[in-house]
């Protein structure tokens, strides 16, 4: 197990409303010195929620994704507010995005996204015991929803508009989780 490199220097290279780029100079255990850049995302916490109905369907959302300039299918997602737990944030996002609340919420995995370049992590929350409940959100247009049987995950993976690494990882994790409970 190698020792973590020593931080020789660190500074903010750029900051916009949403992004902070941090530069860091590191000395590795072998003496090698390198400059790195990464996105600092510790200032917010995020959830991606898998709303699972009793019949084995999950509820997906289809939303405009600015990074791709296209509509993408994925999980309800959002930032957790200050003082809010992951579970409470997940329950709020569900009510804003799909019009359901959940009585059974649990974090099943913390996912990183390109940890070489981003400090950010997303809590994957499994939401069950769903009931209709609605909260107003801040989306620019009504969000389309799509119910999809988790048992037909393979077909979903063939769709080009379903490509997000976190959504794919989360649905597989939930499928394993549910199979594990039944075993």
């Amino acid at each position: 197990m190698p020792e973590r490199p020593r931080i020789l220097g660190q500074r903010e290279l750029a900051r916009t409303r949403l992004f902070r780029v941090e530069g860091v100079e590191l000395a590795f255990a072998n003496g090698e010195v390198r400059q790195y850049e990464y996105l600092k995302g510790d200032h917010f916490r995020a959830v991606a929620v898998v709303p699972l109905f009793d019949n084995g369907d999950v509820m997906l959302v289809r939303e405009y994704a600015a990074g791709r300039h296209d509509y993408e299918l994925g999980l309800p997602k959002g930032r957790v507010e200050e003082g809010e737990s992951y579970e409470a944030g997940a329950n709020r996002e569900l009510q804003e995005e799909i019009g359901y609340g959940a009585r059974d919420l649990r974090v099943i995995k913390m996912l990183s996204l390109s940890p070489a370049y981003m400090s950010h992590r997303t809590a994957i929350v499994l939401a069950r015991d769903l009931h209709p409940a609605h909260l107003p959100g801040d989306e620019p247009e009504a969000i389309e929803t799509l119910r999809w049987p988790l048992a037909r995950l393979e077909e979903l993976l063939e769709r080009e508009d379903f490509s997000e690494a976190r959504s794919i990882a989360a649905l597989y994790l939930v499928r394993d989780w549910v199979l594990g409970e039944r075993a």
Copy 2:
């Protein structure tokens, strides 16, 4: 299927050696106007490679990840060079990072990462028919490798240092792919 929002304006908000933040003003079909920010990553292509041995083991790498300031377990990954195919880039990264080349390489899925905020996509490449082969890389220190049986994926998922959404999605996808071939 909603119409994509119209781009009213677009400009670069920040640029560092690695990151470009783009700002865009959009008018949605319902007339709503919003400002978005995202990371522009179209200027490079990336691969994450699943090196699969004949006995069902995969080879993972354990590398320093600056975004998390810690060592993380994951797949061999890297940027594809100009004029290089995804398959050739994957084969080069394998030889640099794990000391193997592959005779059977195929892109099994294009993954996006937070498409609301990033334009970037990663090609997941399944690499088989492996043979020892080494190319010098530009890593700051020797990369640790770890052979792991794909059949024991669940145990891997319990490790805190194995958290990357792309790696998790890729290993599940490969497991399904291989099971599909045998069926």
